[in-house]
């Protein structure tokens, strides 16, 4: 499995927070999708958020700390916006390779999640 051991600590900590937000958002969307039923389009939104969170985890070192309490927010759109907001502090460097497509993926999800 891919890991990134060259990322600096600040960027790594920020990405870990992004991962927590996305993971929580995916859980919420899937719960809502299951409540709506098997034909809910939210199943695919949840899949998109989950794949984005997989991307984030792949950008982190193997020993990254991803535990911690789930975010307090329960609004999926807000969670995604918070995740995008956090990525603004991450530099675009070789050590953070993957940040550009991640930003695009999260922005796409924000737009997709709009009511």
């Amino acid at each position: 499995m891919m890991t990134n051991d060259t990322i600096d600590r600040d960027a790594g900590d920020t990405l870990a927070a992004v991962a927590r937000l996305l993971r929580h958002a995916a859980v919420l969307v899937w719960a809502q999708a299951e409540a709506e039923g098997p034909r809910s389009s939210l199943h695919l939104l949840g899949l998109g958020i989950h794949t984005a969170s997989c991307q984030v985890v792949a950008m982190l070192p193997a020993d990254a700390d991803l535990e911690g309490h789930p975010p307090a927010q329960d609004d999926v759109g807000q969670l995604l916006r918070s995740a995008e907001d956090l990525t603004r502090s991450i530099p675009v460097l070789d050590q953070t390779a993957g940040i550009s497509p991640l930003v695009v993926a999260i922005c796409d999800l924000v737009r997709e999640a709009k009511p």
Binding site: L44, C54, A58, G98, P101, V104, A105, R111, K114
Partner: protein, 486 residues
Amino acid sequence: MKRQDDRSVGELLLDADFTTRQSLMDVTGQDAPAMLRTWGEVVQSASELWATLPQSFRGTTSPIDGTTMHRLESMSQAMHRNQVRRGWPGDGPSDERLLHVAETLTRAADLIGRRGGHIGPTDPGIRADLDAARMRIMHTLYVGAHSVSVAAQQHVADVELAITRGMSSRESRAVPRGQEAINRLAAFEQLAGAYVGNQFARAAQGEHVHGPHGTERLQQALIGWDIQAHRTLAATPTPANLLLASRTQAGIATAAAAILHAGARTGHVDTHAYKHRLAPTLDATQQAWTHVATRWAEMTTPASRTDLDLVHAAGELRAAVREVAHDKTTWAHPEVMAGRVDLGEAAQHVQQALSTAVDVAFVIRDVATQDTNLTGPARAMSHRANDDIDRAADRDHRDEDVVWVTAGDVHANRTVAIPEPVRVGLVDAADTLVQTASNAMSAASCLDQVTQDRPSGSGQEPTAPRSRRHDGPTPMVQEVPRVARP
């Protein structure tokens, strides 16, 4: 009088980046003409800023050179010439946000030109800053190109919908011209994306390159997913990979129902067959995949890693489904889907996917049954074991008061081997999955007949499938090493 802009070059670059992000989050199809008119100015400004940055002393083979920017500028100019020649999108207002990005980049170029463009970057710190600036510029172009492309895609979709309602031929020319712009922007985005060094790019959002559209893309994405799911699950059947595989299969079942529903509504799929055979079995298999996925999810931790090739295949599949079946935030109207693709052909790809899903279900059941290395976090495993025992018909287990996970493991939330009740529950869920997936495959076999026999009045002629037909497992399925089933 305009207030003086005291921002540094770094601040200006961040402003440009964040503006393109905001644009991407808000963009609609209505924005496309203005964005296409303005995009060339953004690229031009970025190129001029690039040229003002002191040259690096690296060799010509370094990725930090001007070749990529020259190519991007050429692509943008070619795109602009094409727009002028074809008269589309024609004259009109500029996009304010992209204009702001262009002006911001120009402002940064002016600042460098006045204050330090002549400086030779011998200091490693300065060289690093320059590299970072180039990366930020390219990142901004990458995000910006994607934003314009999304606008163009939505614009084309909007026009396609309008065509079904009687739009004029002059207005409908936006479809082929918009599609051409989308292809050019995809190439631009891929080139800029390669510069910002993303081995992750494909995984996040699909291919974004010149490629098939519509049902052909859907077909390739479904085949690609099937192949990758088998590869990944044969090599690394971890709970994280099984979770993504199950969630994606659930998504396929959901998408199948949406596409076949649209087919039934538009005369491409037999309505009775959809209502009484396909829909119930698709719902059942979707729920079974979702149930299995929640079981695997309990066995993961936040740090669990998923195979990026599998992530990529899932991302491409999701993108292909959205292209065919989504309209902004929900399913597209059946007539809209029918306007985009041949739903009879799409139904046949769906049928093939439902066939291959059975084999993925068998692989998952094999793992659940036989993989002795399955583990999970102690707390989740303890809860699941107790819940499953409480629900079990046989109450003897509860009376024995077995401790399935030690208090020490629970306290530290160590990774533990899955307790026997958890495995039993997992195997039960996988058995149900195999059964429901098989039922869905059987129900979908009627698509052979109904798509070929549908009335010619459906608006589109029956189309021969472009792919090989799956009467059984795909060749890839047969190649994948499988453990023996009990």
